[in-house]
């Protein structure tokens, strides 16, 4: 005890210098939290594995169809790297939800906000970390899928090189899309404060709702479907734009609108409510 007391006194003033909470430090703290949980790695690996595996299946399907005399369209081949996105996004979304909801679940939100009392800064840091994670995961998974499926596609000479701007854009856009998904998930986790509830909300919004709507015949359902976050966001990666479909930048803006709305609602609630 005496030793500690002495060292406290000697270094206290030195340590007080430049020790204020800054946004960069809160981001670093969030990064530490992210990389010190086993669940991070499990969900990340699951997300990437889902995308790669579904991509490989899609490539295999194209190869088989081609052998049966149904040559694959170029757009279908180039959609292979993102074929598994609808599954991969759910696991990544779950990971992003947990960034905040697990803090409410375990009560560690209190130490967190005691250390960094500016709540909007904490939420922004979590959103930023989630966005970076989504961007890297999306781009990396799409690139990995592209590289891994080339030998499969090569069997029917369907393989291709990443040579055009559009090819590279599709990879980067996958990252952009998952970044938006991750921020949307952080916002839902902040609003609902409950891991299970928020993960269900993410799955409902990104997967169940579009699937259900696509089964309903008629113009209205199709119109609504077009503006759902996952449908609009997927236009970011589209290589061919069909009639009445949103252009990539339009789809991106719609998706960003959803994300921003959820984030603003989350920010208002997070700042006002007791924890």
């Amino acid at each position: 005890m005496t030793t500690t007391t002495r060292s406290d006194g000697a270094t206290a003033s030195a340590r007080r210098d430049g020790s204020a909470v800054t946004f960069a430090r809160v981001v670093r703290s969030e990064a530490v939290k992210l990389r010190t949980l086993p669940s991070t790695y499990i969900l990340l690996a699951g997300s990437i594995a889902a995308m790669v595996a579904v991509g490989a299946l899609a490539a295999g399907g194209l190869v088989l169809a081609s052998r049966d005399g149904h040559p694959a369209a170029d757009a279908a081949i180039r959609a292979v790297p993102t074929a598994g996105l609808s599954f991969g996004q759910l696991l990544l979304g779950a990971l992003a939800v947990l960034l905040i909801s697990s803090e409410f679940g375990t009560g560690s939100i209190r130490p967190t906000l005691t250390a960094a009392p500016r709540r909007l800064g904490v939420l922004a840091a979590k959103a930023l970390v989630a966005a970076l994670l989504g961007a890297v995961t999306g781009a990396a998974a799409a690139l990995a899928t592209h590289l891994l499926v080339q030998p499969i596609l090569a069997e029917e000479n369907l393989d291709y090189r990443l040579d055009g701007q559009a090819d590279w854009w599709a990879l980067l856009a996958t990252g952009l899309y998952l970044a938006l998904v991750a921020v949307l998930a952080v916002a839902l986790g902040t609003l609902l404060r409950n891991s299970a509830g928020a993960i269900v909300a993410v799955i409902g919004l990104l997967f169940v709702l579009p699937t259900a709507l696509s089964m309903i015949p008629g113009e209205t359902a199709a119109d609504i479907l077009r503006y759902l976050p996952s449908e609009a966001g997927n236009q970011l990666m589209a290589t061919e734009i069909g009639d009445g479909e949103l252009r990539p930048w339009e789809g991106g803006l719609v998706m960003a609108g959803w994300t921003l709305t959820a984030l603003v609602a989350a920010a208002v609630g997070f700042r006002r409510r007791d924890v």
Partner: protein, 306 residues
């Protein structure tokens, strides 16, 4: 220093904390006592800016908590030992907190050493016993070498060695001139640790006084045994004392000093054969205090009926 002014928190109709005003001074250990649901934890959360007061203000070292630029340097707090992600190691939990202030990993290892948690630092917090969780919470509170330390039930779940350690630690922190604010439901523990007591019940401030005064104020009674007891009782009642019959021929007198009792008996020619001053324990004092609060409530109701 912690200063609460008319601090109030309501949940719907219920006033969890009701216009509480107090100051926690540096250089001493201030105990925070109250029955379950009295509003202790709510008050502590408001001090730390986690819950927003419905009314009134509370500042730490002169500012609302949320306005401090380096809050961990100002205030260290242990609110709930279980408020740690069970999948993260104790050391990583502290590293994440430290990162917000640019506190080096060296300091994290220092507080782990200080709290006796170094050997378990790289184990997942989910595997910790309640006592280890408390030590981790204390380690987090000390991380920023803060001027003010707030500990909610720190000895809860600790073994006797741990209880002794917390007692010594809080004493040392107070001797270093820091503000130490400590809640506990263990009165005996509080009696040995605190210099000053703040007692709340039903969200209201009941007492704010040095611990010796709280004990003296609530429990200064004298046990008297005398011949012709009823005569003595009339005499003492006239003099304004409060009387209570004890076992057998015992009479418990409060509101009069032993010497005053003896003088009164002597002047009336009554024989006293026992006169024993009784010092209440803190526990009795505390029960007395909270009982008075309850009695005050029902008296007020009875008064309306008349």
């Amino acid at each position: 220093m912690i200063e609460a002014t008319r601090l109030t928190k309501t949940y719907g109709d219920r006033r969890a904390v009701d216009e509480v005003t107090f100051t926690v001074q540096p250089g001493r250990v201030t105990g925070f006592l109250g029955p379950n649901g009295a509003g202790k934890s709510t008050t502590m959360r408001m001090i730390l800016g986690l819950d927003a007061p419905t009314g009134g203000t509370v500042t730490v070292n002169g500012r609302p908590y949320r306005q401090h630029r380096a809050p961990l340097r100002q205030v260290g707090a242990l609110l709930d030992a279980k408020a740690v992600h069970p999948g993260r190691t104790g050391r990583n939990h502290l590293l994440a907190l430290a990162a917000t202030h640019g506190i080096p990993a060296r300091r994290v290892d220092e507080v782990l050493e200080l709290t006796g948690l170094a050997s378990a630092a790289r184990r997942r917090a989910g595997s910790y016993s309640l006592g280890m969780g408390q030590r981790l919470g204390v380690a987090a509170a000390l991380l920023g070498d803060p001027q003010t330390v707030i500990l909610d039930e720190p000895v809860n779940g600790l073994d006797p060695e741990g209880v002794l350690w917390v007692r010594r630690l809080t004493r040392t922190l107070a001797e270093q001139g820091r503000t130490v604010f400590l809640s506990s439901h263990l009165m005996s523990e509080m009696a040995q640790t605190a210099d000053h007591l703040i007692v709340i019940g039903r969200g209201r401030l009941i007492a704010d006084a040095p611990i010796a005064e709280v004990i003296a104020g609530a429990g200064a009674r004298t046990l008297v045994r005398a011949e012709r007891q009823h005569l003595l009782m009339e005499l003492l009642a006239e003099a304004g004392a409060t009387l209570e019959r004890g076992e057998d021929d015992e009479l418990l007198v409060s509101g009069m000093e032993p010497r005053e009792i003896a003088v009164a008996a002597h002047s009336a020619g009554l024989l006293i054969y026992e006169l024993t001053p009784q010092r209440a324990s803190l526990e009795e004092a505390y029960l007395e205090l909270t009982k008075n609060d309850v009695e005050y409530q029902s008296l007020a109701l009875a008064g309306k009926g008349n």
